[in-house]
Subunit: 239 residues, 6 copies
């Protein structure tokens, strides 16, 4: 299922039967004192694997560098511009199409990437009538998230390295979580937060937006399971 391990002949054979390729994309980004800066990459990779197992699809190597404008001033956050990210994702889609892939599934775990991903998907839409590009960022999980959440959401729905995201990690990549460093932080957002560019280092010192201490593996599992199901359900329609 790990595309990299295959020889080109094996890849060719696999795609001829199952023309789906999954690209995990995350980011290197500060995630508070308890989560690693590779958090989004670990989540993207492992979520992708869970999906791939269910639909028997190939997983591309993780694209580990995302658009991280909001936290770009915080050490450990690597920021790629929308323009360049869009370019590379479009190029990857072109190569995949050439080899017979007809479903290019981008499993994303970092909100900041959505602009570039959508732009790339629209580029590819214009190039190839018979290529379908999907982009997923924990799809279908609004309801279950509301159910499992014990902390109150931040105004505007912002969250980061919090009850929810930490729970994802406890489920998918527990070895990298330091729950003893977990903390809660609900910083006041300035009134114009949504209406003007605001680097997050102006609003938080902890790089946590929410309650990390309330995270549990179980909560993570519940939400991730729904995300996987949602993706799988849509991909199965493509058969």
């Amino acid at each position: 299922m790990d595309m990299q391990k295959l020889t080109y002949l094996e890849f060719q054979e696999f795609i001829s039967k199952k023309p789906i390729a999954i690209l995990p994309i995350g980011a290197v980004e500060a995630h508070g004192p308890h989560l690693p800066i590779g958090t989004d990459n670990y989540l993207a990779e492992r979520l992708s694997r869970k999906v791939a197992e269910k639909v028997d699809a190939l997983v591309l190597p993780t694209f580990s560098y995302g658009q991280v404008w909001s936290l770009r001033n915080v050490p450990g956050s690597i920021n790629v511009s929308n323009e360049h990210l869009t370019g590379v994702l479009t190029d990857i889609g072109k190569s995949l199409y050439k080899f017979g892939v007809r479903y290019f599934v981008i499993i994303n775990t970092h909100v900041g990437n959505m602009t570039a991903i959508k732009e790339a998907a629209r580029n590819l839409y214009d190039f190839y009538k018979d290529l379908k590009v999907f982009y997923f960022i924990y799809p279908g999980t609004a309801k279950i998230t509301k159910e499992v959440r014990e902390s109150k959401p931040m105004p505007g729905g912002y969250f980061h390295a919090c009850e929810i995201e930490t729970s994802y990690m406890l489920y998918l990549a527990p070895d990298y979580v330091k729950m003893d460093k977990a903390l809660d932080d609900f910083p006041d957002l300035p009134e114009d937060f949504e209406y003007t560019p605001t680097p997050w280092d102006e609003i938080t010192d902890t790089i946590v937006l929410g309650s990390a201490t309330l995270a549990t593996e179980e909560k993570g599992q519940k939400i991730i399971d729904v995300a996987v199901e949602t993706i799988v359900k849509i991909l199965e329609k493509t058969k």
Copy 2:
């Protein structure tokens, strides 16, 4: 040493003491019937780790998508344009500089990436007087390669998935090598091969240029050891 595993606070502390970051970069590319399409990525990652252990430096997540013009028509070869690759690498360097990195070490295993890497390095050179960008592609190994090689080199020095590269894999990532599928192929190159754009699918069906069957772990180790030493020697001068 794996940067992704650190929290942003640990990253900050590490870099404040040792302002070096190593970026492994390879490619997804056809490598004959016996090597995986992730060959360059496995090599870049593991070579980087060996270097990092010796100089006690951080290793960034592998950049797995390279410029693969020559083999772009062969299934499994993902091709990113020089322009976009240059852009992303430049962005990564900018973020690293912001956080105190002063030695950005690009360990590359795919020849096609050199154009974009050099362009990015020159961009960064102009932006930051006190940032040093290194780019290495098996440096210092010409002599030892000549010594260990049993097959005759292809005209023009071209090689791919051959005695040398397969030996690298047998040493650094043996689990992914299928020596029973290894073969020898010394295709005739057209006389104008070096002088006009020539996709490699016009010259080879096997995607092997050289003798894969002569590869051994020992040969790989000998060359890789020299590459590591060369890099380490240069990086140690930076202290």
Copy 3:
């Protein structure tokens, strides 16, 4: 208040006292059989004037061409790319800054413009430390909208030329509304609607998503009043 009417000397004097400039931005876009294709422009312009009256600020000429990917295939919908739109908005901000404007207020009525507006705002953020760029798209109206709405929302919150938007027009530009042509349409959205590029001409023939017949001037006034208040409140903090 209409910037265009001033001589350059009057402009200079005004800005020296009140360094705010408001840019209305909409789009030319199909809006069903009952609303004009200039709907977003009328709304942006009149909403901007209401704000300008309250805060005594200048209103720039309306930028009437937006990013209209979703409806680009439907006659009358003019689509400008994100790249070019970002470029022009950034240029406008640069000129305004040069003349002393320190609050560049973009009042937007078309969702498709948000990507370019944010990119431009971030560009300007990097150029000028003391320029604040605001972007508003009916801010603060979630609650009041829920209260006045009689029709059920479409899944995913999508809406267009519907109860809400038609009410805006009945309040702000009633002369251009043909309520006798108003209709209701709640098309089924394909399950992957949010996850893959989908031109809206694939989901609707009427170019209405919701219930236009339920629109009233009163509903429009209630929501618009809250939007104006929200913007005014934030701008007043800037004094």
Copy 4:
């Protein structure tokens, strides 16, 4: 005739019968102490309407932001780069073509826009064999202008906010003209004025190049009438 007022269905019907669309384009630019900074936009819009009435064509919303290099340092002059302006105009032309427009008529009143307009027209020329893009800037008026003009022309034919342009405004948008502030200014141009980039704030304090006091509505009407006739004559050949 005002395209914005139409529904998309009315637009579609209109264009199917008369595939012409007129885009007025001006600029926001300083025009001396007696003319508003929206002068070029008022002129473009009203000139376009006169043409549209005669040929029964649609008028797009005015594009109000032009390339204003020469006066970019004078307050109230908003400057858009040639590159971005070309991009947006090309995009607009593409959308119009898609909906059946075959004559895209750009009525321009600001010299600085011509470079971008021509570049966009050439782009569209290459995309669509059967789209004709026209660009007009007071065409056919050289002779009549010479006749009505009482002041002597500036060397090199430069003029701005002068007898001619003020007369246009007195005819087309008299409400915005403050003739009591009109003045005459014939600044000496440096000898290399035509041969090196020279911002106009280096040559004029009044932002008037010529004699504004000699302007009359009658002069304006005479010239504008010829411009309208010239455009109409050419457009009528397209039928």
Copy 5:
């Protein structure tokens, strides 16, 4: 005076005394049956030399590739885009500035180049306060041209490979002129010629616009002498 012939040390010394560099720029373009396709390059080069002799300045190697949109379909006409031409000219200016050049004199003989040249000059204007970029295309010759001309001008002032340009060649590069092939052609221009992109192969078969047979060396000398004087006069003011 030919910059290319100097060693870098001689160049450095020369520029330290006389910080002027002249760039001749022409085009490869069809010029009727009697003039070579290098006409504009020969003229630019020789005109530049005449100027250089008078002001004792260096002449750069001729830039022989211009923007040739109008004749791009006629064999022998090489067309470089405005974007790329602007880029290269800007780069050249940057290097010259770095080495002490403070007057970058572009002597152009091809109208189509003016857009790119002006754009490059404006770029450089923004980069360097103390660099002056001049652009000349037969400056100051309107009056003398009118005097020597025997043929009537084409409407709109268009001319090409005609009495005037052929006379330039008879004076500056007579060896390349085949007067026995010279002809007269005054094609009717379509009424919309100035108002819509029109490749010249639609209006002429001969690629002559005017009367080539009336050309004489004497006419050429008279006009060129004035052009040289005009340039020299302006450059002498820079001392």
Copy 6:
């Protein structure tokens, strides 16, 4: 054979029989105290002529501006960016193709140009199936160079204005060589020279890398003759 001298009709006829065009490309670059800054241009032009004589092909005007990053800080070295150089070369190729050229032969004498040339060649490869772009930089001369060379090569094979290049000039353009100023310089290269961007002004004051004093016309002739033969042999296969 000099394309510029032909009329467009002669050009058309020539190409219809022999669809080959040769573009000499060099650079303006410091070449020590004994060689002119136009060295690469003289060499490209004269080498091209020798080839053209043998294969009866047209020679385009020399493209005299190259990518000169390494020596860009040394007076007299004009540096064009890879991006712009690629653009112009691609444009030239497009025009040539339009007129029937099917073999676009780029004879290059400056290593720094190879990146842009290859990128342009690959662009053209994708545009036109039946256009062949060749790029030559003294091809096939490795063996003969080793034979004639008396000085030892610099580590890494770097050379500049040395025994070899000066010999080229003594053979092809002796009038521009000042052998009395020739010198020998074998600067120590820093250990990381190949692995990080290093302007050559950091390693040499003389701008000579090698032994200029050992240069002779005979050595130059021997090597150049092989280069010409190699190119001719390949071009003859194209017939």
